[in-house]
Every structure is written in C-alpha cells, then in structure tokens.
Amino acid sequence: MTTAEKSIEGFNPVIHAPNRLRICALLSAADQAEFAFVQDKLGVSASVLSKHVSVLMDAGYVKQTRAVRDTRQRVWLSLTKEGRAAYKAHVAALQAIVSGELDA
C-alpha cells in the first residue's frame, strides 16, 4: 500500500465537518473537557454542540460522563481510544493533502 493510499484511509468525513474537527482537536489536547467549556471555545449554541457530540458518540469517538455537583448536572466529554486514533489519522491525512501527497 502506498503512503497516499494510507492517508486516504485516514481521512474521516465524520470528523472533518468543521465543528466536529474542532471538538476532536479540543478534546485531543485534554483528558476531558466540560460541555460548557467546549461550547464557549467553539462559540456555538448548546443544541448545535449537542448535535455534533451525538454524531461523534454514535461513531464511538466521544464519550460523555455526567456529574451532579451542587444540584447542577455537568457533562464532561472525552475522546475514546478509537476517537483519538481516528482523529490522529484524519490530521495525518490533512497534512498529506497539504504536502501534496494526495491528489485532492
């Protein structure tokens, strides 16, 4: 298999949607991040973020944990092992496209 073919395999349409790519990038730099933190950094509404998180969760890339503190429920997001691998492969595919290893 050539380098280019490997890079094409790494390209992930589920992750590549702009907001989902930014969610994955945020979570890749963290062990976990609170829903409100991700929302603030992305500058999107809770419903928009919720929709993208659902897509990533359905793909098995993101998991969420709920913690109740002071009667307020907080949702924490993190990348799964599969999500981290898929994100890394996707970034590698993007780098390959930029460096001209692929015919886009």
Binding site: P13, A17, R22, A29, A33, V44, L94, I97, V98, G100
Partner: protein
C-alpha cells in the same frame, strides 16, 4: 459555523486542508492556554511538600494503621484539589511534551539538591527536603508559566 459537509470520497483541496489544520491548532492552543487558578498550584505545592515525611512513617503495628488512614485521607485531599481545579476551569488538559520536559528539568536539579542535603544533614532528610523543594517548585513553575503567558499575550 457549519460551512461544509464532506462525504466519503470527496477530499478537501490543499487550501481547505490547510485551513482545517489551522483550526485544529487554534482549538488545541485554546486548551493549552487555559489557566488553572493560582490557588490550585499553591494547594498542590502545599500537598506535595510534606510527602517526604512518608519515609518516617511508623512501621510497627498498630501505629502503621493510623499512618495508613492518614495517608488515605491525604490522597483523598489530592483528588479533591484536582476535582475543584477541574470544575473551576472546565477542562483537564493532557500533559504536553513541553510540560513533561519542564517537569523533568525541574525534578533533576531538585533531586540533586535533596541528595546534597541528605549527604550533609543525614539521609533521613533527603526525602523530606526533596518533597518540600518540589512543592515550592510547583508554585514557582505556575508563577513562571503565568508570567510567560502574560508577556506573550
């Protein structure tokens, strides 16, 4: 906002890929530059400082049980400090390669100084002085990171 959806087989152009990579870097940077409150590092430094006294824990029964209970309470306090810090900032950043290098760069001279103290004052003092210095270094490192962030802002 959502500008473009990609389907399987439709790859982005090099320009689009470059823009996506820039967005990735910005997102990662926003996590790296999130500052934890200063009280967190002070609390962590104060927590680490007396850890060296573990070397003087009693080993005879039943005093060892009391020491173990105290140690478990101390570990619980650490979890509480980290949880409070995470709640305040909303994110638990992963260790970056740069931070690992910094930690190693701090640990090595601190260990050397603690070994020298142990050599001069007696080996009983090596671990207590190591943890006390490490606690102080955590606070100093946090101050240095803040100073550097303020200068680059």
């Amino acid at each position: 906002m959502e500008r473009q959806e990609f389907t399987q087989g439709a790859l982005p152009s090099p320009q689009e890929a470059r823009a996506a990579l820039e967005a990735v870097e910005q997102a990662r940077e926003s996590v790296k530059t999130t500052q934890w409150p200063m009280w967190y590092f002070v609390a962590l430094g104060v927590w680490v400082a007396p850890l060296g006294l573990l070397s003087r824990m009693p080993t005879d029964f039943p005093r060892v049980l009391v020491a173990l209970v105290a140690l478990m309470a101390w570990m619980g306090l650490f979890s509480a400090i980290v949880a409070l810090g995470a709640r305040k900032t909303g994110v638990v950043p992963s260790f970056s390669r740069e931070q690992v290098v910094h930690i190693a760069a701090i640990l090595v001279p601190v260990a050397v100084i603690a070994a020298l103290i142990g050599w001069k004052a007696g080996t009983d003092w090596a671990l207590p002085s190591f943890s006390a210095l490490e606690g102080a270094m955590i606070v100093l490192y946090a101050l240095w990171v803040r100073h550097r962030s303020a200068r680059s802002a």
